[in-house]
């Protein structure tokens, strides 16, 4: 039986003469509006050695325009009870302004001023750069951050996904205001940007206001090509150990390369990953490693599907003395799932989870805006939401098995351990070659 779809929101889309797309939907449950400006270039376009450029640019846009300094801007936003957030991410950079729908015209005018009339104030740039450098230094106090930040350069080396999206203390040290201006000029182009509006705002008003504030935007350059290649070099499989004698647990990241978002196997892979480690207590990793063995509080796996091939990563932690046991168990479970893709019952459960939980993601303006951003970013089509559940249900056991075979490589994992070497190194050396990473 086809799932009911009378609750599906109707997404509208318009393209302005300058190429900017307006995509949105009318939302009537609360008087709220979420307006997101999205440029389809992000941290992967950071210049070499200048990781964090896109993310710093996003924040820099929020600390002054040609007409308002940082305080006047903050007062204009917060005086309306609104929230302004700006981030550089993989494949995209966003500036989001959300607030009460009664303020929509003013919020729209503000967002356009922030993006199209940036002030690039030198003083604010220097302050935010130094604050961010200090924050990144402080991130070393959080072992999860250390593991995440160490893993990307370890795994991807110099390729565009090979740095944290907000950079490192070293990469920010060399960053200049000119780098942000240059990124804006070369990477942010109306033909490669979308405006997403979800809120208690009629479509006609959204379109008229968009035309009023955004239609005159022009860029002198052609849009820069998007990064979508497979990385040239990757780390050798094996165990890499970063010694942190002050920790009681080991943070563990295990990964290998996965497919891009455009893979036709996306839905099969989503289901296989649910069975492996993306489905909480319905996944084998959680059942084996937490419920049966009590080795950790949490473990999950994820294919990070991006425009270019992204990583597949399993993340977990365990008291240091269990580190080697944990890694062995992860490999065992991965091998099982690669061979069988789970049982028919597991596949059916995964499908009914995604089909049943689908409307939960459509409840809030933020959740809906996230869906639309994703559709825009990866050209998934305006009918994506209506096709989502049929596509999940169309995956059969053989397709799931083929995806598991094709995309899981338990013997090729690049494994990072951040933990006290004195309490885990000997055991780790019994299961594989261990490379000690330099501290800092």
């Amino acid at each position: 039986m086809a799932p009911r779809d009378d609750f599906l929101p109707e997404i509208y889309a318009h393209t302005l003469a300058n190429g900017l797309r307006l995509v949105g939907l009318e939302y009537s449950r609360t008087p709220w509006v979420n307006i997101t400006f999205m440029a389809k270039r992000g941290a992967e376009a950071d210049p070499a050695g200048k990781g964090g450029t896109a993310d710093c640019l996003a924040e820099c846009l929020t600390v002054g325009t040609q007409h308002r300094d940082q305080l006047a801007l903050a007062l204009a936003v917060e005086g309306r009870g609104a929230m302004l957030q700006a981030h550089g991410s993989w494949d995209h950079t966003t500036i989001t302004l959300e607030g009460l729908a009664e303020d929509f015209p003013e919020l729209m005018a503000l967002l356009a001023e922030i993006v199209l009339e940036p002030g690039f104030p030198e003083e604010e740039f220097l302050l935010l750069r130094e604050r961010r450098r200090a924050e990144l230094q402080h991130a070393l106090d959080d072992p999860r951050e250390v593991a995440n930040r160490t893993y990307l350069p370890l795994f991807f080396g110099d390729s565009p996904y090979g740095h944290p999206v907000d950079g490192s203390p070293e990469s920010l040290a060399g960053l200049q205001l000119e780098d942000l201006r240059s990124f804006f000029q070369t990477q942010v182009h109306p033909q490669e940007c979308s405006l997403v509006i979800v809120g208690m705002v009629p479509q006609a008003q959204a379109l008229a206001t968009t035309q009023q504030f955004w239609s005159t935007w022009r860029s002198p350059l052609a849009p820069a090509p998007a990064f979508q290649d497979a990385p040239q070099t990757l780390a050798q499989p094996g165990i890499y150990l970063l010694d942190r004698p002050d920790l009681t647990q080991s943070e563990i990241r295990c990964g290998h390369l996965g497919p891009p978002r455009s893979t036709p196997d996306f839905f099969a892979l989503r289901l296989v990953n649910y069975i492996l480690g993306g489905g909480g207590f319905s996944s084998r990793l959680m059942m084996r490693i937490r419920a049966e063995k009590g080795l950790t509080y949490g473990i999950r796996s994820q294919f990070h599907c991006r425009r270019a091939p992204g990583p597949f990563i399993i993340s977990t932690f365990t008291p240091a003395e269990h580190t080697a046991t944990m890694i062995q168990e992860i490999k065992n479970v991965m091998t099982e799932v690669k061979e069988t893709a789970g049982t028919a019952a597991e596949l059916a459960d995964a499908q009914s989870y995604y089909v049943g939980s689908f409307p939960l993601g459509l409840e809030t303006p933020g959740g809906l805006a996230q869906q639309i951003k994703n559709i825009e970013l990866y050209n998934l089509g305006l009918d994506y939401l209506s096709l989502y559940r049929p596509r999940i249900l169309a995956v059969d056991q053989s397709a799931a098995q083929a995806a598991a075979q094709k995309y899981l490589y338990p013997e090729e994992l690049v494994i990072l351990v951040v933990g006290p070497a004195a309490r885990c190194r000997l055991e780790l050396e019994k299961i594989g070659r261990v490379t000690l990473l330099p501290a800092g």
Partner: protein, 440 residues
């Protein structure tokens, strides 16, 4: 403009249907039919507040045990069955309450009512699963407290600020108590606190109130009640002078945590304190951001007081976290924060400033009302902690009514030096860290 898209037509009043059953059980239903989804919640009136030395952390550990199976269901099968119907399942424990929830497709309501009643009546508490789950919780403790940047200093703050009341220990419990706790302790706890007279059931979403009542009657109606559990009598006396403590750890930064005793959720005095906290620390226009974070004197100044319904049942703490950039001393930052507080004590807030933070809190309240889950939490937790659920419709007015004088009075009354406890985080080398003894 269509009526449903005009913010002026939005009415914030939430209808709550209340039912009481013969065994003492209370049910609140918040109908909202705009999407075919619902949130089913069971809130027990027990948290770390009800514990004693020796069994600290038992409320949270018991929350884990509720997923370990019943006479009919195997370990974690509860979560697997509901996920396989598209539901999201989780639970959380606080100082005052333990809450279980399932966000589901609305047509799965009977399933989750039946399964929640089943685990309340028929929980299978085996010594084996208790032993395994204890290790999971100890791993969680290491993650959240021991290896996290400010987890142990925060525990020290509460242990120093409270000399008599049970808020002095952390929800996750002391590690030595987790180790010593027995299976018999768990059984005793289960019999005392998990009964119809000590809980409230909430259904929020696309449900008919009468139908929800019939389902709850069908599955929960026959559970006998032992009557309410013993109340907590202990009252924390007024603090008579500042208390200070030092916590040494490996850290990139110096920092301080401070706690001021503030009123409980049911005391209307809490609303001026909320607005005061927002004026000091919420957003980039706030006093602490403008004076301390923006100019680089701090990486972070966080003024934290949980909004309703998460404000504590007994008088809790307003917590200040101040973090300085690496290499800078924290004492100057601490003094600067006290200066900002002193300025409000002597001169109060500006009128425009109060209007701004009122609108911020109003818009944040409107924002969460989009979500059935949050609507349910508001009704259920307000009811559990204050005995009234109609507070859900007073929230916007509670902020709106606060005057400039009330905010100034709150600053003078609660944010005093005599009423504060300060923990200073002092960085040490790994060698000194080792010499100070193990952490757990």
């Amino acid at each position: 403009m269509t009526d449903r898209l005009d913010p002026k037509n939005w009415r914030p009043a939430i209808a709550v249907h209340e039912y009481r059953f013969d065994n003492g059980l209370k049910l609140l239903v918040l109908p909202n039919g705009s999407l075919p989804i619902a949130s089913f919640q069971v809130h027990y009136g027990v948290g770390s507040r009800n514990e004693r030395q020796g069994i600290t952390g038992i409320s949270h550990l018991f929350e884990h045990m509720m997923f370990r199976g019943s006479k009919e269901l195997g370990p974690e099968e509860f979560a697997r069955i509901i996920q396989a119907k598209g539901g999201e399942v989780n639970a959380f424990t606080t100082q005052d309450s333990t809450s279980y929830f399932e966000n589901i497709p609305a047509d799965q309501l009977e399933l989750v009512v039946r399964l929640e009643a089943d685990r309340l009546k028929n929980l299978d508490l085996t010594p084996e699963s208790f032993a395994s789950e204890r290790e999971v919780v100890r791993s969680e403790r290491k993650l959240r407290s021991v290896d996290s940047p400010f987890g142990l200093p925060l525990e020290l703050l509460f242990a120093t600020a409270y000399t008599q009341h049970s808020y002095q220990w952390p929800v996750i419990g002391w590690d030595s108590d987790l180790v010593a706790m027995t299976h018999a302790d768990c059984l005793d706890y289960y019999r005392t606190y998990y009964n119809p007279a000590n809980m409230v059931v909430v259904v929020a979403g696309a449900v008919d109130p009468e139908q929800a009542k019939d389902l709850v009657q069908k599955y929960f109606g026959d559970i006998p009640s032992q009557g309410p559990p013993p109340p907590v009598h202990t009252v924390e006396p007024p603090q008579r002078g500042e208390r200070r403590a030092i916590f040494k750890k490996v850290s990139q930064v110096e920092a301080f945590l401070a706690g001021f005793h503030v009123p409980a959720l049911a005391n209307p005095d809490i609303y001026p304190v909320m607005l005061l906290a927002a004026a000091l620390g919420m957003g980039k226009a706030s006093r602490c951001y403008q004076k301390l974070v923006r100019p680089g004197r701090a990486i972070e100044v966080d003024i934290d007081l949980s909004p309703p319904p998460f404000t504590t049942q007994d008088p809790g703490l307003l917590i200040v976290l101040g973090v300085v950039p690496p290499g800078q001393p924290v004492a100057a930052l601490e003094a600067a924060v006290w200066e900002e507080i002193a300025a409000v004590q002597t001169k109060g807030l500006e009128e425009a400033e109060l209007a701004r933070v009122k609108k911020l809190l109003r818009s944040q309240t409107v924002r969460v009302l989009a979500n059935n889950f949050y609507r349910g939490l508001l009704a259920g937790l307000l009811y559990l902690k204050t005995g009234r659920f109609d507070g859900i419709n007073d929230l916007l007015a509670n902020y709106e009514q606060v005057t400039l004088e009330q905010v100034q009075t709150a600053a003078q009354k609660y944010l005093t030096a005599d009423n504060r406890t300060v923990v200073v985080v002092q960085p040490v080398s790994p060698e000194e860290n080792e010499a100070l003894g193990p952490v757990s």
